[in-house]
Symmetry: C2
Subunit: 282 residues, 2 copies
């Protein structure tokens, strides 16, 4: 496994590559969710590159970026054992040198959900992903359904900027109790973690209702709200049922919708989502 | 000469190209200024591509974009005679299809000069240039010093996004009377055109003063202001002496500065600039 620290290192490697390349962008602190992306990339490509970069411009403050959990040694060990070919670990000055001022914005998709809750977050994501796609020129990029809005944003920017890459969105990986894996789960107390299980169960209730024929978003949102308000440790940030491509809120689910929630639990905001889609033969 | 109308056409051509490619992005209505870029590209590359696209998102209104002069037939004839290999003439729906929402912003550089006078203009330029660079993957892109701020913006975005392309800035081409060539010059009456000559002569006065050792920007700006206020047909929009890389206004010219002006003449705003640079041996 080759460790790359600069964009020049990456270009040298990429210029001499013959075969398909899969890229998995991460902020490190890897868990089984990331590994599922890497395994998928490994299956589908001749070469696999993983980037580890805690992207400061997608955080609201330097403090938030600084406090994001890091675990480089364990990350490297995990990547070694997954037969990753290249790990890109640039420092901040390599990615955003003095005088840096170019940003990529995906306007409408960035205004809602995580974008409305975290100003600048989506612009930060779009910018770093564009930079990685330009330097790596991968055949496929892998993202997790867990960050549903990010996946939709990346699909949109790739389409709009005509970047020749396939965007692969892999299913959310959950603990056996249903909690979606997240680097932030380590901040939950045992009690908070127990309350957090209501996130997924509220989404499952909506899935059931949808399969039973309820298409009215107002009713579907209320199903979640009712589950979440039952627990005093949970503070709902948003409940959204939105078009799967544009993230416009829907009155009625017609084709494919993203049902996503953000909930404050103690000091942490957890997000989760499910896809609501009419299936003809189940 | 091959005429390409879609991004897919371009990709097909570029994927099968062996040799260097020079790209000259234009909005058509070609004049000797554009031809100087094309000739330079022709000299330095195996293949030359020219794009003709009146980019709606760099205009303030649809009306302005619609009214921008067009002359496709004469453009094509000129490009044929310059041995251009590829002309890319997409329609608006090809470049900005329904649902398009991804934009590239170069923040500080876009806030001043033309950026402050024309909201959204620089974002429009940065976005179209990024899209063209991604699809054409040229070795070099050619821009004119006449649009000094655009050249500085393109150099910055290429550096920030790590797009592997050489940005070649070619000198401003002037009519024999000194007026910088511009597609907008056709809107000048004979009287206005005569007044417009003061733009370049004011810049020449500054160049002379600078060579005589005057480095104070306040004094240098006043030299221009005094020349321009003498003519009642001219209305000064801005006079800038700014750092050549960042476009920050300078108190004192130390290394290399861009001295740029915008002047309203009748219904048209004309822009022009010169580079102020310490030269050791002249």
């Amino acid at each position: 496994m080759q460790i790359l620290k600069s964009f020049n290192d990456v270009s040298l490697v990429v210029d001499n590559l013959s075969g398909t390349l899969g890229l998995v962008p991460t902020m490190g602190c890897l868990h089984a969710g990331h590994l599922s992306l890497i395994k998928q990339a490994r299956m589908q490509n001749d070469f696999v590159a993983v980037s580890i970069f805690v992207n400061p411009i997608q955080f609201e403050s330097e403090k938030d970026a600084h406090e994001y959990p890091r675990n480089f040694e364990s990350d490297i060990a995990m990547l070694e054992s997954e037969n990753v070919d290249f790990v890109f670990i640039p420092d901040i000055g390599e990615v955003f040198p003095y005088g840096y001022q170019t940003y990529v914005t995906v306007t409408e998709i960035s205004r809602v959900l995580e974008g409305s809750r975290r100003p600048g977050h989506m612009r930060g994501v779009a910018t770093i992903v564009t930079k990685l796609l330009i330097v790596f020129r991968p055949d496929s990029i892998y993202c997790g359904q867990k960050d549903g809005q990010q996946s939709i944003l990346i699909k949109r920017l790739v389409k709009d900027l005509r970047i020749p890459v396939d965007v692969q969105v892999c299913p959310t990986v959950r603990d056996s109790d249903g909690l979606a894996l997240s680097s932030r789960n380590i901040y939950l107390s045992a009690k908070e973690r127990k309350s957090s299980l209501l996130l997924y169960s509220s989404l499952c209730s909506v899935q059931d209702a949808f399969r039973d024929g309820i298409k009215n978003s107002h009713i579907l949102r209320n199903i979640i709200a009712n589950v979440l308000t039952n627990d005093s440790l949970l503070e709902t940030v948003y409940i959204s049922i939105a078009d799967f491509d544009t993230l416009e809120e829907l009155d009625q689910v017609c084709n494919k919708a993203l049902c996503s929630i953000a909930v404050k639990v103690g000091s942490v905001v957890l997000i989760d989502n499910i896809i609501l889609e009419e299936v003809l033969n189940e």
